[in-house]
């Protein structure tokens, strides 16, 4: 299988001029299509930083990231926005959704940015929200949804743009165990049925147990990489 993500000697130093922090240093990571990979490690080990670099939300201070063979670290900020829109789905720990839009409008929004037709947008939003079990919450605003439901809308939104892979930074950190399990089930199902690639960071052992590959970071370096 081909690598959709490939990082080479990837490094990020924060505050290089004052008190340098080597958040990520010399990371070589290859991710294949269809993976369900957990990024783990103690707090401050560089998980968020690494995900930001892979997702093109930040620029590295050294090395590079190739997505589908294209080096994204060379891209301008504006080009990166467009690249993210077309290639990467994001699920953040919180504040994923536009508060003034309903669940289905939030899902439609990315498709709007991609200039998908109105009919197709509406159809797909209903489909995706049904897939994540929120068929009856289409017209609810984020504030009317539970934390778990909001995260499921975020997953549906991430899928809406038909990305190559989805990055999720501690998607379950704010959820109770039942919601966590529910979200993980949905992600696993999408991974198996739709071959959607997921890379997520987590502290939660039950989430780690569900992953099929676990990459462990310590002090910005990969210390173990196991398939299970």
């Amino acid at each position: 299988m081909s690598n959709i993500i490939e990082s080479h000697n990837l490094s990020k130093v924060y505050n290089p001029d004052t008190i340098p922090v080597n958040a990520v240093s010399g990371v070589d990571l290859k991710v294949e299509e269809g993976e369900f990979t957990a990024l783990v490690g103690p707090s401050g080990s560089g998980k968020t930083t690494l995900l930001n670099l892979i997702g093109g939300l930040d620029y590295p201070t050294g090395g590079n990231v190739k997505i589908g063979g294209i080096d994204i670290t060379e891209m301008s900020e504006n080009k990166l926005i467009d690249f993210r829109l077309k290639n990467i789905g994001f699920v953040f720990q919180a504040y994923n959704l536009i508060p003034v839009l309903t669940a289905s409008e939030n899902v439609e929004f990315v498709m709007l940015l991609q200039k998908t037709s109105k009919n197709e947008r509406e159809k797909r939003a209903i489909e995706l929200l049904t897939e994540v079990g929120l068929k009856d919450k289409l017209n609810k605003r984020p504030s009317e949804l539970s934390g778990g439901q909001q995260q499921r809308v975020a997953v549906a939104r991430a899928l809406a743009s038909k990305p190559r892979f989805i990055l999720a930074d501690e998607p379950t950190a704010n959820l109770d165990s039942k919601s966590t399990e529910n979200l993980l089930e949905i992600m696993a199902k999408l991974n198996i049925e739709d071959k959607m690639t997921f890379i997520f960071s987590t502290h939660d052992q039950r989430v780690i147990d569900k992953a099929r590959r676990v990459v462990t970071l310590v002090d910005g370096k990969i210390v173990s990489d196991v398939k299970q």
Binding site: T48, D58, R84, F90, I98, L101, Q114, R157, A158
Partner: protein
């Protein structure tokens, strides 16, 4: 959907948005009110000048204007007056004799401009006959009647039916004096005019000046004052030997006043809009900084910078556009009612009437003001959203999302 998002975003902070909408409305109202007020004042001033002194068009012997020499009468003035009276655009015509002289009572004397008028004609041309507060505007029964201003009567210490003496130079160059009895005392809006102008009958003055049939000045009031320039142009070619002047030519300072008022209005509106601008900048900046994480998320999932920029501008424009109709409505209601009843400025009337202004100002709301003022306000909204929008574009998604 951007419109939907922008519109709903406005209502996320209801109080703040209502404050902005209200300040746009009040700012717009204040600007329009000022314009209507000054427009009303200027219009009234022009009307009053046209009514009391200038009329729409005046004819003179070109030589008369320089030194008001008694000899410089209009040749065959009577014939011209009769011809003008039959013109379909002309409402009224009055032929006048005009000379400067001295008016004296038993106690004191004062320099005045003496107007010899045919009362029935002059009544139709100027408003002085309506401003008579004591006595009448010529009984027409006796010889040597005079009508003088209240201010002058006070200065001379004379009352109705008192005698005064006018002294001036006749056509032959002799110093002539005539004794007149006060038939009426007037009070116009312009106290300077009241102090310096007196009226006698045409025939009495003609007798003393020995001008015979001669006329110094022909004043014309048109049926439609808006046509003044067009009609004057025709008359100028018809009477090339005479000096034909419109009221703006007769009183260039009036035209200047109108110009100054226009400039002042734009300065005032500029100041109001500037204040509005700081209000909107402040509000939008707060709204943007509050939503830093949201903007970070939007850019992370692929909303490009032009779209983010446009959305923020849209929010500002929507806020303002909600305020504009409110401001226009407020203006129409308030100014509309004041235009009917007038604004009472009698508290300041002493000073105002010295400059010829009325005690009551009737603001004039021009429909044509709405569009430019609304556009200027909308433009201000766009302008003041630019800085907050640029601020939002500087957010780095990676940092913005993780801000707690």
């Amino acid at each position: 959907m951007l419109f939907k998002i922008a519109w709903r975003n406005i209502w996320r902070n209801r109080t703040r948005s209502i404050v902005v909408i209200a300040s746009v409305a009040v700012g717009l109202f204040a600007g329009m009110f000022m314009m209507a007020f000054f427009q009303g004042a200027v219009n009234q001033e022009i009307d009053s000048m046209v009514e009391t002194q200038l009329s729409h068009i005046q004819f003179h012997n070109p030589a008369f204007i320089d030194d008001k020499d008694v000899n410089d009468t209009i040749a065959n003035g009577r014939a011209i007056i009769n011809k003008l009276k039959n013109d379909k655009d002309v409402k009224a015509v009055s032929g006048r004799l005009v000379t400067t002289g001295m008016i004296s009572s038993s106690s004191t004397a004062s320099g005045v401009e003496i107007h010899g008028v045919v009362p029935s004609d002059e009544k139709a041309v100027s408003s002085i006959s309506k401003d008579v507060i004591v006595g009448v505007y010529f009984t027409g029964l006796k010889k040597n009647e005079i009508v003088i201003g209240e201010k002058l009567a006070g200065k001379l210490g004379v009352k109705l039916h008192n005698k005064i003496v006018l002294t001036f130079q006749s056509k032959t160059g002799d110093l002539t004096a005539g004794s007149f009895r006060i038939a009426g005392i007037f009070r116009s809006r312009n106290s300077a005019f009241d102090e310096s102008t007196v009226f006698t009958s045409f025939d009495d003055l003609a007798g003393l000046l020995v001008t015979g049939d001669g006329v110094h000045e022909i004043a014309v009031v048109l049926k439609d004052g808006q046509k003044t320039d067009a009609i004057a142009k025709v008359l100028k070619t018809e009477y090339q030997s005479l000096l034909v002047q419109t009221w703006t030519e007769l009183s260039p300072q009036m035209a200047l006043l109108t110009g100054i008022m226009d400039q002042m209005m734009y300065i005032i509106i500029g100041i109001i809009l500037l204040a509005l601008m700081f209000g909107i900048i402040n509000t939008m900046l707060m709204a943007v900084l509050e939503r830093q994480r949201e903007f970070g998320m939007l850019m992370a999932i692929g909303m490009n910078k032009p779209r983010v920029f446009f959305m923020i501008l849209l929010e500002s424009v929507m806020l303002t556009c909600a305020g504009i109709p409110a401001g226009i409505l407020l203006t129409i209601i308030t100014v509309g009612s004041l235009a009917r009843h007038g604004i009472d400025l009698s508290a300041f009337s002493q000073a105002l009437s010295q400059y010829g202004f009325s005690n009551f100002i009737f603001p004039v709301l021009k429909q044509s003001m709405f569009l430019p003022v609304s556009l200027m306000t909308a433009f201000t909204a766009v302008l003041s959203a630019i800085y907050p929008a640029i601020k939002a574009l500087r957010f780095k998604p990676a940092e913005a999302i993780h801000k707690i």
